[in-house]
């Protein structure tokens, strides 16, 4: 006789049916949506909240990213929100009472050209002025921190040095989502999966609720936190967003002994690599050039990043690729997020994080919750409103480098 299956472990959150009405609805149950609901409840006492997710909880980019967390961005506005998020990461495992393996193993951003070196040293100075930990390392110091990086001058793009942020690191992304979900649920937030928002209920220019595959739900305020599908939802609500949805791919190797002690990123040869706690080498690079909602991309993009990884890490020569996957990332013109009010009253947006929003999860949630609860942006997201595309006050992290992920 077959052995009976073990009991299912305790569920981390309830599975409620949607109520007819909520004070606040968050559309999208990824990391940012869950963090938004969490801070609505925790910081603003708004607990009559639903998170509506069309698929399963955190099955979008939240489960697909390469989990790099850092705050060494160039511009003051970016450094402020990413560093705020990093400070939250440092205490969230205790606050949420959940060890999601946040590991501050540091991140190296390699420089391979004179231009890279100049950009990197400028960024180190800018970071220090913003109290973000940052240092410039010469090639021999790079080798001390990460002995498997090839720092020989004898390669196509030699390592001329690197910036190092010791407080940066990685975390286990699905556990982060579960930690937020459990805490939301405990404060009374309804997490409703398999519930796609298909349209908006409006009274003139004001949103009063959402249409979903599980019926209409009214709401005092609605936040769109749908990453790659933000434009699709905005169009249904009657406005346009300056974002384009692209496939972004990543890959892992089979499990290996720990060989890689930190996170290495190279914009120039274009790959970034860390080693997960279980032992997989985790790699990613840039988006596929074309627009796409398919959660998959083209194989030559994978080949390109593997070639870059091999040049940097000769030891990976015998490593085996285990699997590749893709997410849909919402890329904005200045590679900075959009968080704030929309042309529709009581409807707020958090999007445009593109290839690098995991690290910002607590900061984005904090700012978005404040914006939804008070109707006005928080200091952290005031510079990141939609209006910047008209005023021209862009926060151009594209050229400012170290930008990918």
């Amino acid at each position: 006789m077959a052995k009976p299956l073990p009991e299912h472990p305790a569920w981390l959150w309830r599975d409620p049916d949607p109520k007819a009405s909520y004070d606040a609805i968050v559309v999208g149950g990824g990391g940012h949506g869950l963090a938004t609901a969490y801070y609505l409840a925790k910081n603003h006492g708004i607990t009559n909240v639903a998170v509506l997710e069309k698929g399963w909880l955190a099955g979008g980019n939240m489960a697909r990213n390469t989990t790099i967390i850092r705050s060494n961005y160039l511009w003051d506005e970016s450094a402020a929100i990413y560093e705020f998020a990093l400070r939250q990461w440092e205490q969230l495992p205790a606050e949420l009472d959940y060890d999601f393996l946040f590991s501050q193993r540091g991140v190296l951003n390699l420089a391979h050209t004179l231009q890279d070196v100049r950009e990197a040293t400028r960024r180190v100075n800018a970071n220090r002025l913003n109290r973000v930990d940052a240092e410039w390392l010469e090639p021999d110091e790079v080798a001390k921190i990460c002995p498997i990086v090839n720092v020989s001058p004898d390669v196509r793009y030699p390592v001329l040095g690197a910036t190092f942020q010791p407080r940066a690191g990685i975390a286990k992304h699905d556990h982060v989502a579960w930690a937020f979900a459990r805490a939301c649920d405990a404060m009374g937030v309804d997490i409703i999966q398999n519930c796609e928002v298909t349209g908006f209920l409006k009274d003139g220019d004001r949103v009063t609720g959402v249409e979903t595959t599980r019926g209409n739900i009214s709401a005092g305020t609605v936040g769109l936190v749908a990453a790659g599908h933000s434009s699709v939802l905005a169009e249904k609500a009657g406005f346009r967003l300056p974002v384009q949805s692209h496939p972004l791919q990543a890959l892992v190797s089979e499990l290996y002994e720990p060989v890689h002690p930190t996170v290495v990123m190279s914009n120039h040869v274009h790959v970034y690599v860390s080693q997960a706690h279980k032992g997989e080498l985790v790699m990613g690079a840039g988006v596929d050039a074309y627009n796409g909602y398919g959660q998959r991309g083209s194989f030559h993009v994978i080949e390109h990043q593997m070639a870059a990884a091999l040049e940097l890490f000769p030891i990976f020569g015998r490593a085996h690729l285990l699997r590749t996957w893709g997410g849909i990332v919402d890329v904005s013109p200045d590679a900075s997020p959009i968080i704030g009010p929309t042309p529709v009253e009581n409807l707020y947006i958090n999007c445009g994080w593109g290839t690098g929003g995991f690290k910002a999860t607590p900061g984005a949630g904090w700012a978005m919750a404040h914006t939804m609860a008070t109707g006005a942006p928080h200091e952290l997201n005031r510079p990141f409103g939609l209006e910047r595309f008209v005023t021209g006050a862009l926060i151009d992290e594209h050229g400012a480098a170290a930008v990918a992920h």
Binding site: S231, N291, Y293
Partner: protein, 101 residues
């Protein structure tokens, strides 16, 4: 990887091409007459269609000419290829049903 058929050179791998984003976005006739909102619209706002999308590609490693493609951004299936002097072909939404993926 995608395979696209250049109108002049025939079918080639995606790696021979360069992507150009949304097609049929004309340069404003009188740029200095635009409001800031209209200029923002021209510079930064593009359709981000989920479904058949008219987009530009350049055959940069071949004849170096630009042309247009209608591609379904959900399935990546190419539905039409046409030159810049052709009008946008009518492609029914959902026309890909049953087609190759």
């Amino acid at each position: 990887m995608l395979q696209l058929s250049c109108p002049w050179c025939g079918p080639r791998d995606e790696t021979e091409y360069h992507y150009g984003g949304q097609a049929h976005v004309p340069y404003p006739e009188d740029p200095s007459a635009l409001t800031d909102e209209e200029w923002a619209e021209y510079l930064f706002f593009r359709d981000n269609t989920k479904g058949p999308f008219a987009e530009r590609w350049a055959h940069s490693a071949g004849c170096r000419r630009w042309f247009n493609v209608v591609r379904d951004t959900r399935t990546y299936q190419v539905l039409a290829v046409y030159t810049n002097s052709d009008p946008r072909p009518a492609v029914r939404f959902g026309a890909e049903a049953g087609g190759p993926r």
